[in-house]
Amino acid sequence: MSANHDGTNLLEVRGLTKIFGALTACDHIDLNIAKGEIHALLGENGAGKSTLVKMLFGSLEPNSGEIFWNGQAVRITSPGVAKKLGIGMVFQHFSLFEALTAAENIALSLDDGSPISSIAAKARALSYSYGLPLDPESLVGDLSVGERQRIEIIRCLLQTPQLIILDEPTSVLTPQEADKLFETLERLRAEGKSILYISHRLEEVKRICDRATVLRHGKVVGHCNPREETAASLARMMVGNEVKAVVRAPVDGIETAQPLLEIRSLNRKPATPFSIPLKNVSLNVRAGEVIGIAGVAGNGQGEFFESVSGEVLQQDSASVRIRGKDAGGLTITGRRLLGAAFVPEERLGHGAAPRMKLSENLLLSRHATDGKAFVGSGGMVKGAAVYAAAQRIIEVMDVRKSAPDPEAAALSGGNLQKFIVGRELDRRPSVMVVNQPTWGVDAGAAAHIRQALIELSRSGSAVLVISQDLDELFEISDAIAVMHNGELSKPMPIADATFEKVGLLMGGAEPGHAEHTLETA
């Protein structure tokens, strides 16, 4: 166990267990958090991190085990109890009302009847003292994701917690915004506050965390000092075995290759008051290359994907061209018939129908392109052929499941994603557009998906990947463009791209400036 057993522990967890039906989500978890430390909680998706945190925050009640707070045994029966003890939480998915101001949102959660003006003043003071500048009068709908996170953090700090739980805080930030956040965290640590930091980004854990607890399949597999570990050794602890590194061979003669996906001055008016307009987006993806689109969430990537996929049609049919043909006026089915394939960000409810079997979900995107194979005369579905194809994809992509042909909702997020990506790869599409290919997917499966995308491009297809995960984009892309506020920068070749350059563009630096430095470089 840890050396800290002399009463300086703020929080001690002993044998905490949570069982859901047949699944033991947390299995006798032990965890100590000392005063004034940043403690990382590492683990793949489904390792039990969220369940553990929910028990600490009172959203879930453990089946067994004990929690000690400052040495006293406590029962955290609700988030209210957790807040009273001094536990604050910043969620990965914000719960803010876009049509209200920052101060109004904070007032709603405090629920103590103090006037908005005094809350705004307190929030302003607090935000500046922690280097998280925030205007409490601004509408949440107008704020960037990073600024919204500040609201969540300040909302949490206003309750003067001793322990702050942060769930994947940097997944929505630019590298520069993340640096700012780290400064704030270090400041909080210096004040003696403790932080439980949940992340799967090993580099940042190594950078800011004092200790780490690693979970795998609901069990603690190790406590360590992340500074003494390498990213590879941490990954090994999380995954349980070696993660294969993705291999990306350079392509020759890409400059002369045929563009298979051309986007020319694509514009789109915002569909709702809070959606992002697309402004003059242009991009070519050539046969044999992977182009990555980086950007902070909510900068128009979703709108862009819908426009390219044909879920939303364009007025100017030349603004999207697939394999040399105008496709802007074609529906998603028409674009698929031209050889394009699409993987949306949301799996359940967009890429797959949750209550339908995997074989039916195969039919979902391929009923037209594989009409001959899957649909017989008179519109009868060839059930056996669809089932066989689904089984083939399940095998190729190593989809883990509990039944031969389960409902999509019964699969874990990562396994469903493998199936959805595999469903499109199985067609050998000439153009593949993927939004967030490995979001929430465990490391092993993510490597598999990334490698498959690279191989698809090397076999002569054009691959466009939209992702918030910069590590991923640097791993698989031949060039990276950045989407900010509905505008797309010019793609920079991967050899010239750095985290810093991409990060500046993500934060909204003038694209012209970055391009200029590229050209002179």
Binding site: P79, S95, A353, H367, M380
Partner: protein, 376 residues
């Protein structure tokens, strides 16, 4: 102060999903027993008269088939709508317009006879029902109106239109002023299946064929897949390239055509002429049939027979015990109430919350109350 809350269950029980109609039926029987007891009637005796005696002879089974045929035909069409998450409540009006369109031939051209008459009438009946159903479909796709309201209101328009027709332009001149059309000629009457045994006509066969065809459509064909995808996850349906507006028209036209077929079959089979009232609420009762049959066309056949029995039983208790035949409506209402209740409790569990506790409840765990569509 206490508060009731419906909390979504993480898993549905497949067993209870299947049992739900039977549990609902049992609950209806229990509530019905209480009802009869309060009316001062021995419940056992009443149930015998209500549920057993109406089907104890062969000719009575024919009467059952006559009542079940329109219910099944309409409900099968409605099941497609409801699976697509489209709420056609106006089958009664589509039934009436099917009857009016189909009757146009025998009423306006009584001298036109021969084997072509009946097929043409049936076809026109389907066209009439589909055309009338196209109105709410158009309003929904064009102006985003709520199809529940428009289709329901069009029922009253249809009823009044029929009333006007049989009192006005289509009234039988030799009918002594009665509000009805002329009796249809022989070639315009739907033949009985077994004239020696009872009155049941080809309408029941149409119902069975329609149920089997729609069952194949929904379970085996791409179109049925499209219905199910768009109904359960519209965004995934759009990703699949299925058009929601096309689906609204498809579902309304199909269910309208089947309701129209039921209408013309009823008029040319059981009634033999148009009169101000041609339906004891088949179009509404069929909604219950559709849900009691789990929106499955084969289940709907069984549910249609059960609901047809509630009509016959209502007539039977009226003549035998002097209880109003409105009791049939009460039974139908209870059945729908209990089947929707069972379905809701399969998807959700009830939580009682004292007000003192509610303050600390995490908002994220609380689901919105279920809508009707969750009952599927």
């Amino acid at each position: 102060m206490m508060r009731l809350e419906l909390v979504k269950r993480p898993q549905r029980s497949a067993l209870f999903s299947m049992l739900s109609p039977f549990i609902a039926f049992a609950l209806t029987i229990i509530a019905g027993a209480v009802l009869f007891a309060l009316l001062g009637v021995n419940p056992l005796n009443a149930f015998k008269i209500y549920f057993v005696e109406p089907i104890s002879q062969v000719w009575q089974l024919h009467e059952l088939a006559i009542k079940a045929a329109p219910l099944i035909l309409i409900a099968v069409g409605l099941s497609v709508c409801y699976k697509a998450n489209i709420w056609n409540i106006g089958a009664e009006g589509q039934f009436i317009f099917g009857a009016i369109f189909g009757s146009a031939i025998p009423v306006l051209f009584p001298q036109f006879e021969g084997p072509l008459v009946l097929p043409l009438m049936l076809l026109l009946g389907m066209v009439g029902g589909a055309a009338y159903a196209a109105i709410p479909a158009f309003l929904k796709t064009r102006f985003s109106t709520n199809e529940i309201l428009t289709s329901l209101m069009l029922v009253y328009v249809a009823q009044l239109f029929l009333d006007w027709l049989v009192r006005g332009p289509w009234r039988d001149p030799q009918g002594h002023g009665f509000p009805q059309t002329i009796q249809f000629g022989d070639s315009a009457v739907l033949p009985e299946l077994m004239p020696d045994a009872g009155r049941a006509n080809w309408g029941f066969v149409f119902a069975l064929v329609a149920a089997v065809l729609v069952w194949i459509l929904m379970g085996r064909m791409l179109k049925g897949f499209e219905v199910r995808v768009l109904g359960s996850s519209p965004r995934a349906g759009r990703f699949a390239g299925f058009g929601l507006n096309r689906m609204v028209f498809f579902a309304f036209l199909l269910s309208g055509a089947l309701a129209g077929l039921a209408g013309i079959s009823e008029v040319s089979g059981a009634i033999g002429q148009l009169q101000p009232v041609i339906s004891p609420g088949y179009g509404f009762t069929a909604i219950i049939v559709a849900f009691l049959g789990r929106l499955n066309p084969l289940g709907i056949i069984g549910a249609g027979l059960v609901l047809a029995l509630t009509y016959l039983g209502g007539e039977a208790v009226q003549s035998a015990l002097g209880i109003s035949d409105k009791v049939a409506r009460v039974f139908q209402g209870m059945l729908l109430f209990f089947v929707l209740g069972c379905d809701t409790l399969i998807h959700y569990r009830i939580r009682l919350i004292g007000l003192a506790l509610t303050k600390q409840e995490p908002a994220a765990k609380i689901e919105a109350a279920p809508k009707l569509k969750e009952a599927r």
